[in-house]
């Protein structure tokens, strides 16, 4: 068993990983940037080392410094979390050279999967259905025309080395083809340093369904069922659930087998995720594989009862998987909401700043994986994910009821968050019925969070604001006469504090 593990990440996922380490009796080492001296992951760890200035390129992406800290602190293994170095094939190699264990798959698996054309080819060879399109780079506009006439419109042009919603374009018809070809290649070159692009058929309103796989270094591989991640905004998942409301046992068996086949095709070990798009006919297509722990892994944990980070640790230690496929059972349903520091009433602009008040929901069926605390200042340099709220219920209805209840309890005072936006989605009839696909938000949800509120509640808001104004008015007129001896009502104190706040 590892005695000490370095977590090369920050925020909620660093804490998530450290919790698993601590439960298993392993020491934890944090790394932090100058912006993160007061971050929760540092406070949470047994040891913490400064690795550089705030920008991630100078700190959380500095392979050399992180490995240096691991060695000097005596850590035996490094967990990369997600993001940052998690899917960089050079990082496991550097760990290996330094005699450290990388908690994740092999560099080779990451490399194979990281190249979209290679992985499309390998999946096709392995018999895993991929989204129809090309498995080679498009050589010229003429060639693209030929391909387009076979694939049909609408189609997607994608950068072969792309990711994160960059370097892709939807083409509706022949007339858009030439300009999209040029634009995608140029964006691909400038974003990823490679102008290879390829073609995929555009699936209309697909569902995003992914399978969690676990594989050890001895050739054992199982899947832990699916997650549905169709609720996305700008290609960003915000609500995920397991099981998918559209799943049948037969389809699960078929897709699960394909997910295992995909993992085996790249000799995968550790926890990984195989993403599929599913169309209206129930046909599914391999989209990509994520060679790391996913943000949304908790919904699978709640439904299967398996701690995925502990599984990663076991696998990295070279132990065989303690489960066979028949040991995996889904129980009930789980839903996760990602809570971001962003303003849904103002075009979802990021909202860093100090958290003045924090009430985290709790009680039956609720799990919160967070990285913040009251008094914490959310820095401007990193991803705006504050926390993940997850609910388990004996069925989907109860999970939805619980997460709605919990979203009402959640209070983050001082910065703007997407909580009201999440509430709105969770209250939508189509969501409650499970009628979701990747266009759900565009189709059903408007950004503003104020409309459709009962008149009585609006009056409450007006009364609260008016009382606040009343006290400030009283306070202002009485100010000259105020002395420290005077008894100040609680509200007046409040008014004054609010006043001080705006003048800061």
């Amino acid at each position: 068993m590892f005695k000490k593990v370095l977590v090369a990440n920050r925020g909620e996922i660093a804490i998530r990983v450290m919790r698993a380490c601590r439960e298993m009796g392993m020491g934890t080492v944090a790394v932090y940037s100058e912006a993160d001296r007061q971050a929760l992951h540092l406070r949470f760890a047994d040891e913490a080392y400064l690795i550089g200035p705030p920008p991630s390129a100078e700190s959380y992406l500095r392979t050399d410094k992180i490995i240096e800290v691991a060695k000097s602190s005596g850590a035996q293994a490094i967990h990369p979390g997600y993001g940052f170095l998690a899917e960089n094939p050079k990082f496991p190699l550097a760990c290996q050279e330094a005699g450290l264990v990388f908690i994740g798959p092999s560099a080779e698996s990451i490399r194979l999967i990281g190249s979209k054309l290679t992985s499309r080819r390998m999946m096709t060879e392995a018999g895993v259905p991929v989204v129809p399109g090309t498995c080679e780079g498009v050589g010229s506009l003429e060639q693209l025309g030929d391909i387009a006439s076979k694939v049909g419109f609408p189609l997607m042009l994608k950068a072969a080395t792309g990711g994160g919603g960059k370097g892709l374009r939807l083409v509706h018809g022949e007339e858009e083809l030439a300009s999209a070809y040029r634009a995608t290649r140029s964006e691909s070159q400038s974003s990823f340093g490679d102008d290879t692009i390829y073609v995929e058929k555009y699936l209309d309103c697909p569902r995003h369904i992914e399978f969690q796989v676990l594989a050890d270094q001895h050739g054992n591989c199982i899947h832990l069922g699916e997650r549905e991640c169709s609720i996305q905004r700008r290609h960003q998942k915000i609500i995920e659930e397991s099981p998918s409301p559209m799943m049948t046992p037969e389809l699960r068996k078929k897709m699960g087998e394909m997910a295992i086949r995909a993992a085996r095709a790249v000799c995968y070990y550790s926890a990984g995720t195989v993403e599929f798009l599913v169309d209206g006919n129930g046909d599914f297509y391999f989209l990509e594989m994520n060679t790391r722990l996913q943000v949304e892994h908790p919904v699978t944990e709640l439904v299967t009862g398996i701690d995925l980070v502990k599984a990663q640790l076991l696998i990295a230690e070279g132990k065989p998987l303690p489960w066979k496929q028949e040991d995996i059972h889904q129980r009930g349903a789980a839903i996760e909401c990602r809570i971001y520091a962003e303003d849904p009433d103002n075009n979802f602009l990021p909202s860093p700043g100090k958290i003045l008040g924090l009430t985290i929901p709790a009680g039956p069926g609720i799990r919160d994986d967070g990285g913040i605390y009251e008094g914490y200042e959310v820095p401007i340099y990193y991803d705006p994910l504050l926390s993940k709220l997850v609910a388990w219920g004996s069925d989907r209805q109860e999970a939805v009821q619980r997460i709605r209840r919990a979203l009402q309890e959640y209070k983050i005072v001082g910065i703007k968050t997407n909580l009201p936006f999440l509430r709105k989605i969770l209250e939508h009839k189509a969501f409650i019925k499970g009628e979701i696909d990747t266009h759900f938000i565009n189709r059903h949800i408007t950004a503003g969070t104020m409309e459709e509120v009962p008149a009585a509640l609006r009056e409450v808001a007006v009364i609260a604001a008016a009382i606040h104004a009343y006290e400030r008015e009283i306070n202002r007129t009485q100010q000259p006469a105020r002395s420290s001896q005077q008894k100040i009502s609680r509200w007046k104190e409040a008014g004054r504090q609010a006043f001080l706040h705006q003048n800061r």
Partner: protein, 166 residues
Amino acid sequence: MIFEANLGQERYLVEIAREGEVYNIKIKDKEYVADVRKIGEALYSLLINNHSYDVEIRSNRYSHSVVLREGCFQVDVYSQREGRMGVSGAPLEMLGKVDVCSPMPGRVVKILKEVDEQVREGEGVIVVEAMKMENELRSPKEGRVLEIRVAEGKAVNAGEVLVVVE
């Protein structure tokens, strides 16, 4: 004391009197009794006619941001005197020059317009990166770019004026 409050398109007249810890409120001819306690920074427990609300209130001059379990409300409140003087109503600044400010600290990634260029209402004028996201800031009105105060790559503070539209 009488206040005028605006919430969205609605206008309210609110009459408030305090007796001890209790407020008596008249609004649209209905009467309410409110008992208020401060629970934390900007957080209050309100009992209004025995209905319980945990409310977050933050104010900036007239503008009050009120967060209830069910959502966030922007309420502008003016004392009667201010109300009569016409402070309320359509924001005055919309009529002349408008500043496009950065709502958060970040870094300018791209400037989308040049000085003297025409912009439509809601059209993007500048892109600021913060928290790993590129954010397009938009012109709140139709007009002409009068001034660009920053350069691409520059770090900006929250509230800093980036572009002026006329």
